[in-house]
């Protein structure tokens, strides 16, 4: 009892730490929506009021983030639309620069235009227009005006509520903090991120389209942009890497790279030019084969007197593409390299860290036994047990490369038809009955109608709660069937014993 006292104290100490950590650990903050308004447009070709009045009385709190979503319907006439802050009388508010663009309001100037049909504009970012504070604190509140520019007339039109064009829908959200991530890089919910790259992973580039311009779009946070963020694109030819003894560790040692500057925070879409490729990237891509690309958003660690150095990647992406057509050997090589990359990634995991002790230093230490066993066990686990996702990827690979090929592909097709199948209609039966004289009576039986007409009677009886007979009876039937199955199995087991 005396000996167990320190253990009890120790246990309570640990529990106190855990409880304290749970209570005082920083929790993920979810921004509250202070104000949210959709435009009333819900269908195409409807003239709607799209002025978004912000009434100070409708929300309270500190405005930190503003999100604007605009969508132009498919089929709309040529239209460019941006957002503009205006006061209640409709006059534009001079927030910062005095220009009629959103850049004065902290919005990237190039992101406010919907230039193609069905394009979606999304901007969610910090509210940087502190000069506008006096405006939105007004009693009647300012207006976010949707400003359209009809290309045919070339004149700015104010307010979609008053005149054409229509075909536009808008939503404005005001938050008191960073928005909850929804997985979209375009929104910048996760900070700086890469959205899409071109060529995409696995793309095949025809030799006729060379030289190829590399393009990347994504989002740069204001913080990263202020530190001097840039985009790095590095291209490498697979066989060149192997010639230098680098099967997959190509990203740090080899590659022809180029850097693309960013002009503003927010959404970006940058691409190389032919000049950039020939002068900086030095990458002719004149040989057919497998290539690899690495895309990075980089920020400098240090920046002194305008000189930035020691760039590190805040986000990176590895892709591969083929000039010409992929061969089976390319595919098997890719598979193996991806597998080996997984091996390298897992080396930094727990199993090897468990073996991070010096045998000679610990030779007379009683803890050596447990550490050694932990190390061996970890290594055996690491060697023999499949890492998460490997089995799943292997099954997908097996299904795509083997089970969909002749002859197994026929069975796979049937299995897929069963998996993806949905209830159709029963076939109709058509009968021609000869009545003499060369005439027929045609009779058509709609089996679906015949059967469902009878079967649907079970669904005609509806309870006061709106439940059909099936909703009520099916759980009872399943329970009875389940009990009968259990009884049958139990009886069979008892008979065998």
């Amino acid at each position: 009892m005396i000996n167990s006292y320190p253990q009890v104290v120790h246990t309570f100490t640990i529990l106190a730490f855990v409880l304290g950590a749970l209570l005082f650990a920083p929790h993920a903050a979810h921004a509250a929506i202070l104000w949210d308004q959709y435009s009333t447009a819900s269908t195409d070709n409807v003239n709607v009021s799209n002025d978004q009045y912000i009434d100070n009385a409708t929300f309270s709190g500190t405005v930190q983030y503003i999100g604007i979503v605009g969508k132009r319907w498919t089929g709309a006439s040529d239209l460019s639309t941006s957002f503009q802050l205006a006061d209640s009388s409709g006059s534009y508010i001079d927030c910062q620069t005095g220009t009629d663009t959103l850049s004065g309001f902290g919005f990237p100037a190039s992101s406010g235009f919907l230039t193609t049909a069905d394009m979606e504009l999304v901007y969610i970012g910090p509210f940087s227009g502190t000069q506008c504070n006096q405006s939105y604190s007004g009693v009647s509140g300012p207006i976010f005006k949707s400003v359209s520019n009809v290309s045919s007339s070339g004149a700015w039109q104010t307010g979609l509520h008053e005149e054409s064009p229509s075909n536009f829908i808008a939503q404005i959200v005001i938050l008191d903090g960073p928005p909850t991530p929804d997985g979209s890089c375009v929104d910048g919910d996760f900070g700086s991120c890469i959205n899409t790259v071109d060529p995409a992973n696995g793309a095949e580039i025809a030799t006729s389209s060379l030289p190829y311009l590399f393009e990347v779009d994504g989002y740069i946070s204001a913080e990263d942009y202020e530190t001097g963020a840039r985009i790095m694109i590095k291209i490498d030819r697979n066989t060149d890497q192997q010639a230098q003894g680098a099967l997959i560790a190509w990203d740090s040692a080899f590659g022809n790279k180029t850097y693309l500057p960013l002009s503003s925070s927010g959404s970006f879409d940058v691409s190389t030019s032919t000049t950039a490729i020939s002068e900086n990237l030095n990458f002719p891509m004149d040989r057919i084969g497998l290539y690899r690309a690495r895309w990075e958003i980089q920020t400098p660690k240090y920046s002194i007197f305008g000189f930035a150095f020691n760039y590190t990647a805040v986000q990176s992406l590895n892709t591969r593409f083929t000039v010409g057509t992929s061969t089976p050997l390319d595919l098997i090589q890719i598979d193996q390299e991806e597998y080996l990359q997984g091996v390298i990634d897992s080396i930094s995991g727990d199993p090897l860290e468990q073996c991070n002790f010096n045998f000679f230093d610990s030779a007379f230490d009683f803890r050596l036994g447990s550490e050694l066993l932990g190390c061996i066990g970890g290594m055996l686990h690491w060697l023999l047990v499949l890492p998460p996702g490997v089995l799943e990827n292997t099954i997908v690979q097996l299904k795509e490369g083997f089970l969909t090929r002749v002859p197994w592909g026929y069975f796979t097709r049937i299995v897929n038809a069963v998996q993806d199948g949905s209830a159709g209609t029963l076939p109709t039966v058509h009968a021609d009955i000869p009545i003499g004289g060369g005439d027929n009576i045609s009779i058509e039986f709609d089996i679906d109608d015949i059967i469902s007409g009878a079967a649907s009677t079970t669904d005609l009886m509806v309870s006061p709660d709106g439940d059909t007979l099936r909703d009520i009876a099916e759980p009872i039937l399943q329970l009875i069937v389940g009990l009968l199955v259990l009884m049958f199995i139990w009886k069979d087991i008892m008979r065998s014993v």
Binding site: P328, L398, V481
Partner: protein
């Protein structure tokens, strides 16, 4: 990782070998009969019937459970019979 390597090698080799075989997107048409349409339509009709006669579906489901039990039982007895010769217990 060793197991993953062997698995990956086996699947990659199979994939490479069968990459020379044509990929099956749909079932073929034989004697002017589009088998893919017939199979997909037939499966859709089966789903429709299962939707209409849901109570029979539940009974069939119970029957499948019993069949699964028998499959497990016979497999167990088969394996037990294999090990009986090397000192395993006899299970009837």
């Amino acid at each position: 990782m060793i197991s993953a390597l062997f698995l990956s090698l086996a699947v990659s080799t199979l994939t490479m070998i069968f990459s020379f075989f044509p990929q099956v997107e749909v079932l073929p048409t034989i004697a002017n009969v589009d088998l893919d349409t017939v199979i997909v339509g037939g499966i859709g009709s089966l789903f429709r019937l299962a939707d209409l006669f849901w109570y029979i579906t539940n009974v069939v489901q119970g029957f499948i459970y019993i069949m699964g039990y028998y499959a497990f039982k016979f497999t167990f007895k088969f394996l037990a019979g294999l090990f009986q010769g090397v000192g395993g217990a006899a299970i009837n």
